[in-house]
């Protein structure tokens, strides 16, 4: 392992873990503004996580080892997946880290455990959440894989880190395909991070919740880990979208000033994306669950279109 790559791993993980909660609060803030409220502080998610860490963990008496293992595996899988997407600094990938398929399946690993954790306590809310989560993830999967295949097609690489270097090297390749890819990645981001119109992150009503339902029985440190892993997942997917579609400003060399610049630029770009997500969420109502497959079908045809354009272009 080269020093460069080792430093990449450290920089990326620290960045992801530190700035992930910020964008969770930011989206909430944007939504509050559109509703004419002031909203929570931008650092509210950090405070919440700190508070949760101080509290005791309560396990249901019906819970098994799954509830105890799930939060740890979720956070380990999401943090490992975060290594696959360069946020501020990009270098030569090593040892298969960055492989786009592995990235996808690390997220599946986290989801698998989260869904089992939902079923573990025997609460019907948890079961409902798990069932819906697994159904939605199954239906969105063809779209995701086609988008990823299209990315591999466009960048001629299976490695996200390579793709990011290519994108950084070519600058701003605004082609129709990339715009379409951006839209598809945005839909995937919305679905994967459980946002309106797919899921409502604010609700605790049994009829509407998916992600919140699964973690309803979690508490204390375990809840903090699960919250952090969904925040990390969100920022990683945002990073994927940003650094492949609008890659300006990412650092390609390891010196302090470009790196600091890159962090600043990334935060600005991600804040802009968070603004779009917040506005997008505010402008929509949550969809009825069984209407979702048609939304996904639309996304699927969108992404297949990219492939067809690429094949015949």
């Amino acid at each position: 392992m080269t020093t460069d790559f080792f430093l990449y791993c450290i920089i990326n993980t620290v960045c992801v873990a530190l700035i992930a909660p910020l964008f969770v609060s930011l989206v909430k803030k944007v939504k509050a503004w559109t509703q004419g409220r002031q909203g929570p502080s931008l650092f509210q998610t950090y405070f919440t996580l700190a508070k949760l860490l101080k509290k005791e963990v309560i396990y249901s008496k019906d819970a098994s080892w799954v509830s105890r293992a799930a939060p740890w595996i979720c956070i380990a899988a999401t943090l490992s997946a975060s290594l696959f997407v360069p946020l501020v600094y990009v270098t030569e990938p090593m040892g298969g880290i960055g492989n786009i398929i592995l990235f996808l399946y690390l997220l599946v690993l986290a989801r698998f455990f989260m869904a089992l954790g939902g079923l573990d306590a025997g609460s019907s809310f948890g079961g409902m959440g798990s069932s819906r989560e697994m159904s939605i993830s199954a239906v969105i999967e063809p779209t995701t894989i086609i988008v990823f295949a299209a990315l591999a097609f466009v960048f001629r690489s299976l490695n996200i880190i390579d793709m990011a270097s290519i994108a950084a090297a070519t600058g701003t390749p605004v082609t129709p395909t990339l715009i379409l890819l951006g839209i598809s990645l945005f839909i995937i981001l919305i679905v994967e991070t459980a946002r309106i119109p797919v899921d409502n992150p604010e609700t605790h009503l049994e009829l509407t919740m998916i992600h919140e339902g699964m973690i309803l029985e979690q508490s204390g440190r375990n809840l903090a880990l699960l919250e952090l892993s969904s925040a990390v997942k969100q920022v990683v997917l945002m990073g994927l979208l940003i650094n492949l579609i609008v890659p300006w400003g990412i650092a390609t060399s390891l010196s302090l000033i470009p790196l600091a610049e890159a962090i600043g630029i990334f935060i600005v770009k991600a804040a802009f994306l968070a603004l779009i997500i917040g506005l997008f969420e505010s402008s929509m109502a949550k969809m009825r669950f069984f209407r979702l497959p048609s939304l996904f079908m639309m996304a699927f045809f969108f992404s297949t279109l990219i492939i067809i354009i690429e094949v015949f272009a």
Partner: protein
């Protein structure tokens, strides 16, 4: 040396077959351990032999018996055969180890001796198929395997469900043999020999070879349970004892895969459209298999459908192999073939693990209905962990072995950019999307299976009283579970060790990264977070303690997916209503009906069966039992032959 070891293995299996029959009246723990000892040692000998050939890459050939010139029985172990022999040997050894505990609690008294004998012949037949030197002995042992497996399925013959499944299985397996035999005979006409040798393609042989391929493909598809020839699996697996299910699903289906690969690689020069045919059949099976699996409430039925799905994935790999080699992309062809073979091994490992551990569960709770299980993670902690590893592997979670082989398939698909033909490219992308759907649905399916069997509260009294399985019933699956981990984590090293350096990520690295991340978070939180825990009630909206009937069952879990894919299940819902008033507001009475359509059975199997029955009835009229009529048939036949000979001469 190595051929002697192979023959020693054969003799051990023959001993395992003959001794139980010779001592049919004997039945105690000791004799049963001797029978199993024969089977286990034979399996281990076969695995060692095959490992030797795999590592050294020097083919071994063993001549056994010249029946008459041109027709002989002989064995030949090259790398492909050794790979499948290893698969059969190692999985069978674990299954036999499991049997040691399982048979002690099986019904049937001394009939169990027949069971041992059957298992022994079954494993031997499968091993001899994959090592057959020519198509003749291939066919011979194929038929032996088919016949013995029928007896094993029929073990619990006194249950009507088993008898029905047995007949179904018998018909399908004989159909499979029929097609394989037809293929081999056509091949004989095309090449003039029974040898597994490259068949030259020329003007005369081309159509014959195509016909032979189609026939063999159908024969192997029936055995492998490829849709639409799959219906025997969900009948035969729930009906047979768990070790038999494990062997049939884990190992026997792979023998069909071996057949297809062997003929494609050694004998035929495949056309592009053969690959497309295999790919489309594989994708259909994979998608429909998992969609049917997710609806099952019977645990062994679910596993049976999931076998259909996984065989579909293997066929996708083989299809890609044919497509890429016909397009001249040799690296991609290698990746796809390796994906198919590796997934065969992986499926053998995790599916037999799942069948064995679900066998322990069924044994403990006396039902196969997952709706009546629940909460077994606390009563059967080790079994739950073993089943979990199998479920995680089959759901393709990194870094386990299921993921390692699906990664190869994905890599082949993603790299298929280099295929020239644009239409083919689009087909490949559609198949890729369906393949991803399959993979995600199978994750959902095994969340459902594990969740409804092992998690939450027990939903029946039998579940509350369930006990952990015996030691040997844990040891066999435990070896398989360890194999799931090793084959996954070290997949890159294993492939590199055998000389295949492929552009896939090293899963060892990712396992270390996963451990490191988990460890770092643990360390970080160990000092900063509260370590207090408390046990409380599950939140039930304020109710003090909710009964287990309120929790989500497997059926409820799969309901959204069933609704989304309702058009595929073709469930017929009809209702009639009458109202008291004109505006249809006040409901008076009505009927509602839900009809579950067994699509393939009702629209394909039964019409064909009815047609065959009608044909048979028509021909039966010739058989009137009168000697004069038969004499007349003979006379007419002789005259006809004479005339034909005269005309052609």
């Amino acid at each position: 040396m190595i051929d002697l070891a192979f023959l020693a293995g054969v003799i051990l299996f023959l001993a395992g077959a003959v001794i139980p029959l010779a001592t049919i009246s004997q039945g105690n723990r000791l004799t049963r351990s001797i029978y199993l000892g024969c089977i286990i040692s034979g399996s281990i000998v076969f695995s060692l032999v095959s490992l030797f050939v795999l590592v050294n890459n020097v083919p071994v050939s063993i001549h056994a018996w010249q029946i008459f010139p041109g027709v002989k029985i002989g064995f030949f172990i090259d790398r492909l055969a050794a790979f499948f022999l290893f698969l059969i040997g190692s999985v069978s050894a674990c299954v036999a180890l499991y049997c040691a505990g399982y048979v002690e609690e099986m019904e049937g008294g001394n009939r169990r001796n027949l069971f041992f004998s059957g298992i022994s012949i079954f494993i031997l037949a499968m091993s001899l198929i994959v090592t057959s030197e020519n198509t003749f002995s291939f066919l011979l042992f194929w038929e032996l395997m088919a016949a013995v497996s029928f007896f094993l399925v029929m073990y619990e013959y006194n249950r009507s469900e088993t008898r029905r499944a047995g007949i179904f299985y018998f018909v399908m397996t004989q159909l499979s043999t029929l097609f394989v035999m037809m293929g081999i005979i056509i091949l004989f006409f095309a090449t003039g020999s029974f040898a597994f040798a490259h068949a030259p393609v020329n003007q005369v042989s081309a159509p014959l070879l195509t016909a032979a391929f189609i026939s063999l493909f159908i024969g192997f598809s029936i055995k492998a349970g490829i849709i639409p020839f799959h219906k025997w699996l969900p009948y035969a697996h729930p009906a047979s004892p768990s070790p038999v299910s494990a062997l049939m699903s884990g190992v026997m289906l792979k023998v069909a895969v071996y057949g297809l690969v062997r003929f494609l690689v050694t004998v035929f020069t495949p056309d592009l459209w053969w690959g497309v045919l295999i790919l489309v059949a594989g994708t259909t099976s994979a998608v429909l298999g998992v969609i049917y699996a997710i609806k099952e409430d019977d645990i062994k039925g679910l596993l049976a459908y999931s076998s259909i799905e996984n065989l579909g994935i293997i066929f996708v790999g083989i299809g890609l192999f044919v497509i890429f080699s016909a397009s001249g992309l040799s690296l991609l062809a290698t990746i796809s073939l390796l994906a198919a073979l590796f997934h065969s091994l992986n499926h053998a490992v995790f599916k037999s693990l799942l069948f064995l551990s679900s066998g322990s569960v069924v044994h403990a709770v006396h039902t196969r209905d997952m709706e009546k299980m629940g909460g077994l993670a606390k009563q059967m902690p080790v079994t739950s962990l073993l089943f979990f590893i199998g479920a995680a592997a089959i759901a393709a979670l990194p870094p386990l072995n299921g993921f390692a082989s699906e990664l190869l398939v994905y890599t082949a698909f993603f790299e298929s950019v280099s295929v020239i033909n644009p239409l083919l490219k689009i087909l490949l992308f559609i198949c890729l999307a369906l393949f991803a759907l399959t993979s995600a649905l199978s994750a959902a399916c095994f969340v459902k299976a594990f969740g409804s069997i092992f998690l939450a509260k027990p939903r029946s009294p039998a579940c509350e009283k369930a006990h952990e399985a015996s030691l040997s019933m844990l040891a066999g699956p435990a070896i398989l579970a360890a194999a799931c981990g090793i084959l996954g984590v070290f997949s890159y090293q294993i492939l590199t060790g055998f000389g295949f350096v492929l552009p896939v990520p090293d899963l060892l690295v990712i396992s270390i990264v996963l451990l490191l991340m988990g460890g770092l978070v643990y360390l970080g939180l160990y000092f900063t977070s509260s370590r207090q825990t408390r046990i409380g009630e599950t939140w039930g909206c304020g109710a003090p303690s909710l009964p287990s009937s309120t929790e989500y069952t497997g059926h409820g879990f799969s309901e959204p997916i069933v609704t989304i894919f309702s058009s595929i299940y073709r469930t017929g819902k009809t209702s009639t209503k009458t109202y008291f008033d004109q505006k249809n507001c006040m409901f008076a009475e009505g009927t509602a009906e839900i009809r579950l359509v067994k699509f393939f059975e009702e629209y394909l199997y039964l019409p064909v069966a009815r047609g065959a029955y009608r044909g048979a009835k028509f021909i039966a009229r010739m058989q009137n039992g009168c000697l004069d009529t038969y004499l007349m048939y003979v006379f007419v036949a002789v005259v006809a032959i004479l005339i034909i000979l005269g005309v052609t001469a």
